[in-house]
Symmetry: C2
Subunit: 222 residues, 2 copies
DNA sequence: CATTTCCTTACGGGATTCCGTAAAAGCATA
DNA sequence: TATGCTTTTACGGAATCCCGTAAGGAAATG
């Protein structure tokens, strides 16, 4: 079994359970951080001292409070970690259940398992840890199990997200066009952006922009 | 201390911690349900058998899964419970941190304490339970502590929420007007609704309807 | 009962979205 | 360079939103 594991989870009520699982699995060194920044520091330090972690179990969303942070989400933490310790195994343990985001975690962030917090997540988490230890890939807790080849949501790219983001901040077409020109994002004609929004509306079956943003918010795209 | 407590919480990783707190406080009978419906049944049954619960600790949001449910949120559970056992003490333990919703829990649902899930929530929860037992009122975990007299968000009433809900579902002004007429919600002229939306836009500093809905989503109003 | 005030509804013009068509530009191929 | 294909941009009319003004109606006041 893993020897040294780091848990990144802000809610104390949850980290308690995670640590308990790790103890039951006889992990000898279990560390826990409540902020992403602390997680990165610990990983760097361990690496520097030649006692690197075997596994990272991280949440995705972290509450913001008085403390100023550089890394504010699990994604950011994982991205940073990938830059310093490539071989570290990664399990994400989160409430998120949107295919789009989960797929991106496997494809873009190279995580090894995703466990969704739910009614039986403690067992699911234990299973996932054991499976990752056996070097299995792309482990998904059983309440999710979607098809990785399904292209439905994967097609939405960062360009679309940028549009949705600006829309949700009250920009009108012309302002979006202007902003895109400044950021050298193409295409940036109002007409092209309009067409793209139209595609999104068809895709998400939205009646109008207001509806579209409401849906995008529900999907966690913005 | 309380003798008989019911915990309504779907995430097993969290209920574990809650139950642990209750055990430490020497609560002799601790029951736990993962669905709101089960919670109501248990409370009714206990009442019927003349062994009612002293305290309910409930989450607000419950994941939906294969199982069909009548009550789908903590609010609905509490509302139902208020109808059958008025003297039951109620603590809400949730991640929610929007003043609007929390105030409504105290004012409209008569809860005794609100503890927000966070980095020190286990201690907060323990304190809240003890305070409720001492008959203290309106207990709030320390990371929130807002002013109850602050009228900023309390002014937004169900009429506004109805408008925002329909907007977020893609309705245009005219459709909202028609819908309101059918439901006998007044005022229902397109012009009045328009004016109300305008007020909301000023209030939330929104540039347009799209922006407004994005903000409303962020605030958890819809 | 007349007057005032507030709330609701109606109307209108400009801005923006919505949606289709067409021109212009970029790109590959021969 | 010429040709065809695709992507991007431009344009225009209808629908809807946006925002101010005003008319109509109900409740409050004297």
């Amino acid at each position: 079994m893993f020897k040294k594991v780091l848990v990144a989870e802000d809610l104390d009520s949850i980290s308690l359970a995670v640590i308990q699982v790790l103890e039951e699995l006889n992990v000898s060194t279990i560390h826990h951080v409540k902020y992403c920044d602390d997680g990165l520091i610990k990983i760097k330090k361990a690496l520097h001292e030649n006692e690197p972690y075997d596994l990272l179990i991280s949440d995705l969303s972290f509450k913001s409070d008085h403390r100023k942070t550089t890394l504010s989400s699990g994604e950011e933490l994982i991205e940073a970690v990938n830059g310093v310790q490539n071989n570290l195994k990664k399990i994400v343990f989160s409430i998120e259940d949107k295919n789009f985001r989960i797929k991106s975690l496997f494809n873009d962030f190279g995580i090894n398992a995703y466990v969704s917090k739910g009614r039986n997540s403690i067992t699911e988490l234990r299973n996932a840890i054991e499976a990752v230890y056996r070097n299995e890939e792309r482990i998904l807790s059983s309440d999710l199990s979607f098809n990785f080849n399904d292209k439905t949501l994967i097609e939405i790219e960062s360009y679309d997200i940028s549009i949705l983001k600006l829309l949700s901040r009250g920009y009108i077409l012309e302002s979006i066009s202007k902003e895109f020109k400044e950021l050298s994002i193409t295409p940036n004609g109002t007409s092209s952006i309009e067409k793209r929004i139209n595609k999104l509306k068809i895709y998400f079956k939205a009646n109008n922009n207001v509806h579209l943003i409401a849906i995008a918010k529900d999907f966690g795209l913005v």
